[in-house]
Amino acid sequence: MTPAEMIRVEGVSKTFTLHNQGGARLPVFRDVTFSVRAGEALVLAGPSGTGKSSLLRILYGNYLPNAGSIAIRHGGEVIDIASAPPRAVLEVRRRTMGFVSQFLRVIPRVTALDIVRDPVLARGGSEAEATEKAQAILARLNLPERLWNLAPATFSGGEQQRVNIARSFVSPSPILLIDEPTASLDAANRAVVVDLINEARARGTAIVGIFHDEDVRDRVATRALDITAFKAAA
């Protein structure tokens, strides 16, 4: 792994086995190998159903690969997400690798502002700094100020998604995994998200993303990886 490499994926394969449906096997991909350097934005390409989301989830430790390794540069260490113990994976997520999805996992009773403040505090920022940064990014994403001190459980899909994006970009991790961040956003907010991604990349964040919107994809990607090349034989 060269010093600039943040992610190095080697020989990763995934097959789902559905034990409760007669042991049906659903091969997804085989022998996926690539690496991502700091400041790069790798876009996963290919038609839906080819396993782009599964690959992203494997990088995050959310899915378990059947083979291969996922080396992540975590501080001064290199950690294999595929074999690391849970607490190591959690520590990597806490400090190094963020996941931006379309869906906000709502925590009861925590306000939007506190959700967004949290990553700044977790990385050692002061209360004042956390509040300032959280307010700035929520404003930038056009979330009405009256919602800031409410828990997002009752927000619309688009509002929840913007809280989620704000949380991910308020203090961007060295690695960001992004899955369809703009799915239910209007053009103005889509543009803000593109800016946020590019700003993070410019500061050295390594990005792996899935973008259905071609325009967004073109404005974000520095490189593309066609996942169909690793299509596993059924």
């Binding site: 989830r57 378990l64 290199v78 294999d80 074999s83 925590i107």
Partner: protein, 269 residues
């Protein structure tokens, strides 16, 4: 390329707080739990899931020092350093540890509270157990903990029988945490509570565990509870652990047939 997991990167304390080795307990011919081994680290929250009768509570009782396993050992990190087999020490020492080093939040508040002692007395008991003899300070500590578990300190002299189910559970939590334990066991902490009351309790537990850096072991059959509160999951079936790993990985990409059945049996976790 070297793949090294440096423990120093994974939190300040490199030693586990609890270590279970081949813990087994039998009821005659029947297996309560068998061959359970794992390490729990400071600050980690472990969930144990499985359906009724899968051995979750039996395992919890062994881990918490209530029942002696028929086989295997449960080791706890002593304050002086080193791991201590909790069943090799005298019952007196074990009881002392149970009152100070860890605590249990029971499913039924009646098992964890003195129902005819006031809320303040319930919370203060562990302090008096360890020798605190200043009424004013014991009472102040009790009032402080009631506030932290969101019970109006004005109700300090009310008895648990006058509390709702959710308040009784929160009172149990205060009663356990007041002595500053490093590990908390929870047996179905939200069982029997309304959904809205559950959410409040779960959020409270989540915040307390994070703020106090507690290690916790939570037994539940509710996968949504497990997802919200735990870092790691063990899935039990017929007394044995069939799968374990990172909570979201076990729930989103289950490997074992039983776990797949369990996760598909609910609409969303």
């Amino acid at each position: 390329m070297t793949l090294a997991v440096n423990p120093a990167q994974l939190g300040a304390d490199p030693a586990p707080i609890l270590s279970a080795g081949d813990v087994s307990r039998f009821y005659g011919e029947r297996i309560g739990c068998a061959g359970v081994s794992f390490d729990l680290w400071p600050g980690e929250v472990l969930g144990i899931v499985g359906e009724s009768g899968s051995g979750k509570s039996t395992l919890l009782r062994c881990l918490a020092g209530i029942d002696r396993p028929d086989q295997g050992e449960v080791r706890f990190a002593g304050r002086a350093g080193g791991m201590l087999d909790i069943f090799s020490v005298s019952e007196q020492e074990r009881r002392a540890m149970m009152r100070t080093e860890w605590g249990i939040v029971h499913q039924n508040p009646r098992d964890g509270l003195r129902m005819h002692v006031s809320a303040g007395g319930n919370v203060g008991e562990r302090l008096m157990d360890r020798g605190d003899r200043h009424y004013g300070r014991i009472r102040a500590a009790a009032a402080d903990w009631l506030a932290r578990v969101e019970i109006d300190p004005g109700r300090i002299d009310d008895r648990p029988v006058q509390f709702s189910g959710g308040m009784q559970q929160r009172l149990q939590i205060a009663r356990v945490l007041v002595s500053g334990p490093r590990l908390v066991f929870m047996d179905e902490p939200t069982g029997g509570l309304d959904v809205s009351v559950q959410a409040r309790l779960l959020d409270l537990v989540r915040v307390l565990v994070r703020d106090l850096g507690l290690a916790a072991i939570i037994v539940t059959h509710d996968l949504a509870v497990a997802r919200l509160l735990t870092d790691r999951l063990m899935v039990m079936k017929a007394g044995r652990v069939v799968e374990q790993g990172l909570t979201d990985q076990v729930l989103d990409d289950p490997q074992h047939p039983y776990t797949q059945l369990l996760t598909s049996a609910i609409l969303s976790a």
